[in-house]
Symmetry: C2
């Protein structure tokens, strides 16, 4: 059965009813919060739709993996590294990260850098 | 290789560099425009990320199919039908439409009703 997660945030902080926030900070990732909007809990067999927020000065992991990413920037601005090449991105931009492409997202602004990031369900991706 | 589609629109009309718009009006769909942001042209093997706009008074098809939808409302407001139940949705809301769930999106406002809609690559979905 379908599910609706009503938006319960505001312009400054996005949030949704029935969606948990998980925050990460380590040596490899700084100031990142993830919310799974559609995924296994909703019963979705094929893809996972997540919303990430990166705090000013924060970054996601610099890494690569067999699954790809479909990204849409919803808030703020940042720098995307794709195979060693850095590019500025801001609200509205779409980024496709191919399988096994080394990538990282950094917040280069003074407000939250927020983006949707779609991945395939891990069961569909063969180990490489 | 990764691809960036820079946002080239404004608040009133979303658009992206390198992305075509396809408009539909028939007996079954009214005033709908689709943009494929990430999909086969970007080389994405697992999912397709589309942006739909529905004009005031317009609607998408009332139908069901084996693939599911992950939807995020980006603009305006509308009414979603899920298995015969109608619910109001607006900017920021997330809707998951399960496989084979009958659904329709209608614009009930005076501005564009715009949303992201993710589907799996059709090769992953077995005919049912």
């Amino acid at each position: 059965m379908g599910i609706i997660h009503k938006f319960s945030g505001d312009e400054a902080r996005f949030d949704w009813q029935g969606v948990k926030a998980e925050s990460y900070t380590s040596g490899e990732v700084k100031g990142v919060t993830k919310r799974v909007l559609v995924g296994p809990e909703e019963g979705a067999p094929y893809f996972v739709m997540r919303y990430f927020e990166v705090r000013p000065g924060g970054w996601t992991m610099l890494h690569e993996h067999p699954h790809d990413h479909g990204v849409l920037i919803l808030k703020g601005k940042g720098e995307v590294t794709l195979n060693g090449k850095k590019q500025e991105v801001s609200r509205g931009d779409v980024i496709y990260v191919s399988p096994n492409e080394r990538h990282q997202f950094k917040n280069t602004g003074n407000e939250i850098f927020g983006f949707i990031c779609v991945i395939p369900n891990r069961k569909l991706v063969e180990p490489q």
